[in-house]
Amino acid sequence: MNARAAAAVVWFVLSAVALIAPVYTTLGNRIEPRVLGLPFSLVYVLLVVAANTLVLAWLYVRRVVDDEEPDPP
């Protein structure tokens, strides 16, 4: 596995840690600040989803993981 792929694995493990206790309960589990009316406890989870999506998209575009195949025709 190359270094960038390994870094990505670490990132995703950390993102899982961010979603559970004690990190989520300390940082995310609160009502304020509200974003577009939504409570922060939900916004926090959605931000992690968005961040992971961006990382996955980057890995895909840069062909970091399992990159030896051509694009689909």
């Binding site: 993102s15 979603l19 004690p22 406890s41 993981v65």
Partner: protein, 489 residues
Amino acid sequence: MSGALPTAVVFGYLALTLLLGVLAGRVGRGDVTDYVAGERAFGPVVMYFVMGATIFSAYALLGTPQRVVEKGSDAFYIIAYGAVGFVPVFFFGARVRRIGARFGFVTQAEMIGARFESRLVTGLMGAATVVAFIPYLVIQFKGAGVVMHAVTGWPPIVGAAVAYAVVVTYVVMGGVRGVAWTNVLQGAAMLVVVWWLGLWIPEQLFGGVGPMFDRVVAERPDALVLPGPGPTSPAQYSAEVLVSVLGFTMWPQVFMKCFTARSARLVQLSAVLYPTFLFFLVPLLFLGYAALLAGGPHDDSVLLWIVARPELGDTTLLVGIVAFAVLAASMSTGDALLHAGASIAVRDVLVGALRLRLSDGVQTAVMRWLVVGIAVFVLAIFEAAGRTSIVDLLLLAYAVPIQFLPLTLAALYWPRANRVGAVLGLGTGLATCVLLFVVKRAAPDLYTVLNPADIQIGVIGGLVHTVALVLGSLARPRQSPEHLSRFAP
């Protein structure tokens, strides 16, 4: 609640699904690779909806708002685990797609068994999968029965039978392509209906999503943070998230869809796009909070309850549309389970483990009969299975995919893993789960002594599995380099 309009919506949808599924059956060669893996030719749109719609079951639609009413922000766990749960597909999916095409694999257990040169591993995985699917299918049938009852007034078992007669027809005739094409329709329908309702109902009842949450903050702030009204302790919540993450991509009906993609890179693309499906749970949370403020019921009827509020005006059409969305969710998961269950029973148990010499044509014929057989069996236990026992059985069912995680990771990434490790790991892992499950039912006191923290039995089984897998593998020599090189990426 029954009326002509909702009935027309629901039956129109059923007719359209049937047509689409039957048309799908007219494409392709009709052999095993076609019936189970769609000739490995699915494109991006179909892959996207197959992955998303298979995972989002009737339980996601009916259960998410219910969970908000019952437990408040504990319901966010379903988004939290989805944020990470599908990521492993991005890492192993391309490799699985390539190895599958190289050897002609169409199921997960075939691939793992071949890697470890063990028929026993294939057979055990296949049998455990079919057992795990049964309670999962019962839940889907129940969801279909509930909404068919709301629309037609028929007893739930009759409604479920009608909806699943449609599913069985298109799975028998169309195979995985029938499942996939209907999933595109079902997935798109779910997304549109759920977003529209999730924004429109808070608008009508409270003047918008923001004002609705203003009221929740004022009246029920406890429902916006843990521990919530449940209450859910931080440890419980974290366990829910982690356990779901571990098992998520190991459900065989999801895993084996890696074999259906047109290319390895396309499997990765579906993992990148998957979170857009997660956002579809957000409006269901909104509907849950709307029901919480409006004093809705705490059971799985809450979604149908909130769309039938008299303040919304004439709601007969709304009920039909919700019924349609729930049916779509139930059927898009149920079809994959029936299809995968029948495919796995034939490929992994009959052909893989028992070495029955069945021709390609006979295999697909048996799969088709098994789709009918499994559906009839689930209907037969539909009434007999009381609510509690199904929830209990689901506990065992969810433990099964977690047992496949160490094995799959070792098969793909640990060359040192060998047959002895795999057999020992899977055997002890599954045995631990079944034993703990039986002890919990038969001798609750003993269970409390054995598992004082009440850790999910799948996790304990998974730990036992991992230790046995590592020790067993290290005790025996590695497999031949020639064999391993064929499983290299």
